[in-house]
């Protein structure tokens, strides 16, 4: 085994020892239950500007969080100092706080029957870049590659940055669960500035992967940055009115991500979601299926267990348009008298699919006239009522062809209506994101504009 994997193994053992130290301490407290979480990030972050080194940052963060259940009273405490004394103090601080919090019968560690018993490897740990000079060169080469293309409209680079690091996390609880795992993470980003008619615009390109060797080429990242920046330059006004909107790129993912918030158990039991009481009811059109797969190889969000050790499964969220599940932790499951389903913490990869999908070009051609929204802006999403109003930018198209860029517009509706009125899905999946959602079209959304 290489030196790299040896080092990681040593680190994981060190974390296991710290977890065991905390477990021993907690057992001596004779409390009803406890959870111990340990997390660390170690890596190198560098940036360049104007093809010269800008910042080198040596990152190393660690933290431990201890949750104590004293009867049904719960409290937690966290520390960045992982010495034995600090762990003792932190546990004592959590224990002390339980004297003041209230009894809540739903406060407890996960029941043993739901624990993940078999842990699989998703190939997420690879050697990282730890040479600062090599890291800086990746940034400079990327900037140089983009600028060498002398693309019309691009006036300068707004900097490149590169991160390469290892995340090591551990979790143990009084239900007997104990696991430590590591994953590598690498990302390379470029931001460019373009200008036309005295107005500047910025956009960028990026690549991220747990395997350094699988990062996209500088050529590909540079091209994405150039295309997306140039695409924003030829801005022309459009009139306020109702438009067919094609949600594309990040905008499609951002819009769909509101579903996850709205079906999270904590908002459901607090009656704070517009999808309250919608389980097994229609939320999307019949042709849409949304499935979570937490077992995709090579993805950082993949894992057999969630943040409380609960077994995760491939989960249909939306089946033929019908909402099939809430996202439940053990706490929200108890609240709703349901079963926990591995959703304490984030989701795995999510795939948005339709019975029939076409190419992006066909989607535009079929829609004929409208606006492709590529970016959404601001906080105008109210999950409680579903009321929706966000800033947007993208481009206007006619007869399926791009005409000019559009910015400073808003789109407004209600999330309930937006979800139900999705008309058609393209097949332009972008696998860099956790949510794999292609472009889709919604008819007749109110667009507000300065003219």
């Amino acid at each position: 085994m290489s030196q790299f994997y040896n080092k990681i193994q040593k680190k994981e053992q060190e974390f296991k020892d710290k977890l065991e130290f905390a477990i021993d301490l907690a057992n001596k407290l004779h409390v009803t239950g406890y959870e111990v979480n340990i997390a660390s990030k170690k890596g190198l972050s560098v940036s360049s500007r104007n093809c010269e080194l800008e910042n080198i940052e040596f990152e190393y963060d660690r933290a431990m969080t201890i949750t104590i259940y004293n009867g049904h009273k719960q409290a937690y405490a966290a520390t960045t100092d992982l010495s034995h004394q600090a762990i003792k103090d932190t546990m004592q601080a959590a224990f002390e706080l339980t004297k003041y919090t209230n009894d809540d019968p739903c406060n407890a560690v996960l029941e043993e029957q739901y624990l993940c018993k078999e842990i699989k490897d998703f190939d997420v740990l690879h050697e990282i870049e730890d040479d600062a000079d090599a890291a800086v060169n990746r940034c400079i080469e990327l900037e140089q590659c983009a600028l060498d293309k002398k693309a019309k409209g691009i006036i300068k680079s707004n900097g490149a940055n590169f991160f390469s690091g290892i995340y090591t996390n551990g979790y143990a609880a009084s239900n007997g669960f104990c696991a430590v795992s590591s994953a590598s993470s690498n990302s390379l980003n470029l931001s460019l500035i373009g200008e036309q008619n005295g107005k500047m615009q910025t956009s960028g390109g990026f690549s991220s992967h747990c395997n350094l060797a699988k990062l996209d080429s500088t050529e590909k990242i540079a091209n994405e940055a150039i295309c997306d920046t140039v695409d924003k330059l030829d801005v022309a006004p459009i009139a306020t009115g109702a438009y067919n909107i094609v949600f594309s790129k990040q905008a499609a993912i951002t819009l769909i991500s509101n579903l996850y918030k709205a079906i999270s158990g904590s908002l459901i039991y607090k009656q704070s979601s517009f999808l309250l009481d919608m389980l097994d009811k229609q939320v999307f059109p019949n042709f849409i299926n949304i499935v979570e797969d937490p077992f995709v190889v090579g993805r950082l969000e993949s894992s057999c267990y969630d943040d409380e050790g609960c077994k995760r499964n491939v989960t249909p969220l939306i089946e033929d348009g019908y909402l099939r599940t809430y996202l439940l932790s053990s706490y929200s499951a108890r609240k709703l008298k349901m079963q926990p389903n591995g959703h304490c913490g984030g989701l795995g990869s999510v795939f948005v699919k339709a019975k029939e999908q076409c190419s992006f070009e066909e989607l535009l051609a079929n829609t004929k006239r409208g606006i492709v929204v590529t970016e959404l802006m601001g906080q105008g999403v109210d999950i409680v009522s579903g009321n929706y109003s966000q800033g947007a930018s993208g481009y206007y198209f006619e007869n399926g062809q791009r005409v000019h860029a559009v910015d400073e517009i808003t789109i407004a509706s209600n999330l309930k209506d937006l979800f139900l009125n999705i008309q058609a899905l393209a097949n332009d999946y972008d696998y860099r994101y956790k949510t794999k959602c292609p472009s889709f079209m919604i008819e007749g959304i109110t667009v507000s504009s300065k003219s």
């Binding site: 800008e54 409290a75 109110t446 507000s448």
Partner: protein, 484 residues
């Protein structure tokens, strides 16, 4: 050597337990100065936080955290080397110095030996601990009292959640010239969110209060009562809200929290780093008109007890009252040390960082618009058809194009000079300088936010303040869904 109480407290808390003394630090400085650098610093932070949260009428959880560490940087021109550690022991400090100074390959042999001087600063807030400022039992009682008040006031209330947060931030900054700065800052905050149901409709109301002070500011029936009333009032208004209009129209913004306009439309664009790099649309515009003549905009880190204030910034520079825009003319940018040095100006005391593990950047403190001459009624009476927005859910800006958004959480139609129907949350969108040039009337009622503002930039979150008088924008795009 000068000493002061704040330095002593921080030294006992951060340095002494790690057996780090000034002699050791002097030796480390000469190590840092051995390479050719423009400047560098050691930033020590110790921060404790506590939170109690109530939901469904019981205090379900409590939490406490300690964060402690040191961040060390070496700056040469536009380059920065940075390393940090969550242990403040001698070995970790040595390692960080070596890593940070690797940014420079040049050597600096003739630098004189350095003495460490503790610099005195006048504190803008108490240095007492907010976590222990009232008894734990009392924090629980206050949350329950708040819950009780809200529930007893309106039968439409179906959920109440509330939290009490406090934090205590100790910092020590030692720069490579041997200047040692110390600051202690308290934070206290109380937040309530109410969910109300009327027939099939569910809406929420949110309000809060906070500042750089102790929790005893909330320990009063009057404060709790007013928070309860405000949350219910906002949710009630939203239960009656109709579809918001769409298109470009007159927009009157209320005083106080709607100052998020100032923060997004001009604030971020005037941060020094963006202007040095040339990525802001305000770059190279000093002396030019960037807002209407009625706009004077100030960033002031010296206001007493405010969250955005700081006795010294996170580089040890004293806070200041900085006029950014005067009668519409751009006067200055907000600066940290590195950007000031590169642009040949002085730092404005705006070098801020979230923690020891991230680099300082030019950031806002309390940013506001100066008062004008009109009363709120006068301003509203001039609007035939438009909206009046008094509360916002937050905003965002693209400092390169100048496009900014902010989303209303309480707003009304104005019809023939009268405030009429409440409208649903709508995003307002515009271009920073263009919108500021459309400001035609500024009110005489300057007020500030309730002390809970958080600003995010490049992943770092910081407490900030905002303020403004009532003001009228002649043309701003309102993102409602109603096309009529």
């Amino acid at each position: 050597m000068q000493q002061n109480e704040i330095f002593d407290i921080n030294k006992k808390l951060i340095l002494d337990p790690n057996e780090v003394d000034l002699e050791f630090l002097t030796a480390q400085l000469s190590l840092l100065n051995k390479t050719k650098i423009d400047f560098g610093d050691l930033f020590f932070l110790h921060q404790t936080k506590e939170r109690f949260s109530l939901d469904e009428s019981i205090v379900k959880s409590g939490s406490f955290s300690i964060e402690c560490g040191v961040g060390i940087r070496a700056v040469i021109g536009e380059k920065t080397g940075f390393a940090y550690s969550d242990s403040v022991d001698k070995d970790s400090i040595c390692d960080c110095i070596k890593a940070a100074r690797s940014i420079s390959s040049g050597h600096n042999c003739d630098r004189a030996a350095i003495n460490i001087d503790v610099i005195k600063h006048k504190p803008l807030y108490t240095h007492k601990n907010p976590l222990t400022s009232i008894a734990q039992e009392r924090k629980i009682e206050l949350l329950k009292l708040l819950d009780n008040k809200v529930r007893s006031k309106d039968p439409r209330v179906i959920q109440v959640s509330a939290t009490i947060n406090s934090s205590y931030r100790h910092m020590l900054i030692l720069d490579n010239d041997g200047r040692l700065h110390a600051d202690i800052k308290p934070f206290a905050q109380i937040v309530v969110n109410v969910i109300m149901k009327q027939k099939d409709r569910i809406e929420s109301g949110y309000t809060s209060k906070g500042g750089a002070y102790l929790l005893d500011n909330f320990d009063s029936e009057t404060v709790i009562e007013s928070l309860a009333n405000e949350a219910i009032r906002i949710a009630s208004v939203n239960l009656e809200a109709q579809e918001a209009p769409s298109g470009t129209m007159n927009v009157v913004l209320g005083s106080g929290w709607p100052g998020v306009l100032i923060h997004e439309a001009v604030g971020h664009g005037l941060e020094g780093d963006f202007n040095r790099i040339g990525s802001s649309l305000f770059s190279n515009k000093i002396g030019q008109q960037v807002a209407s003549k009625s706009c004077t905009i100030i960033d002031d880190g010296t206001m007493l007890d405010r969250r955005g204030s700081q006795s010294i910034d996170d580089e040890g520079s004293p806070s200041a009252h900085n006029v950014l825009i005067e009668n519409g003319i751009l006067k200055s940018y907000m600066m940290d040390r590195q950007n000031a040095l590169l642009m040949g100006v002085s730092t404005t005391g705006n070098g801020r960082r979230e923690s020891y593990n991230c680099l300082p950047m030019p950031r806002m403190t309390n940013t506001y618009m100066q008062v004008g001459n009109y009363s709120k009624e006068e301003i509203l009476s001039t609007v035939k058809k438009g909206i009046y927005a008094t509360n916002f859910a937050g905003g965002q800006v693209d400092i390169t194009s100048g496009q900014f958004v902010f989303s209303t959480s309480e707003a009304y139609l104005i019809e023939n000079g009268k405030v009429t129907t409440p409208i649903k949350g709508a995003t307002l969108i515009g271009n920073g300088p263009k919108t500021m040039c459309e400001v035609s009337m500024v009110g005489n009622d300057l007020s500030f936010d309730a002390g809970v503002g958080i600003c995010g930039k490049q992943g770092q979150s910081l407490p900030v303040g905002i303020g403004q008088p009532t003001l009228k924008i002649d043309a701003l795009t309102v993102g409602g869904s109603n096309l009529a």
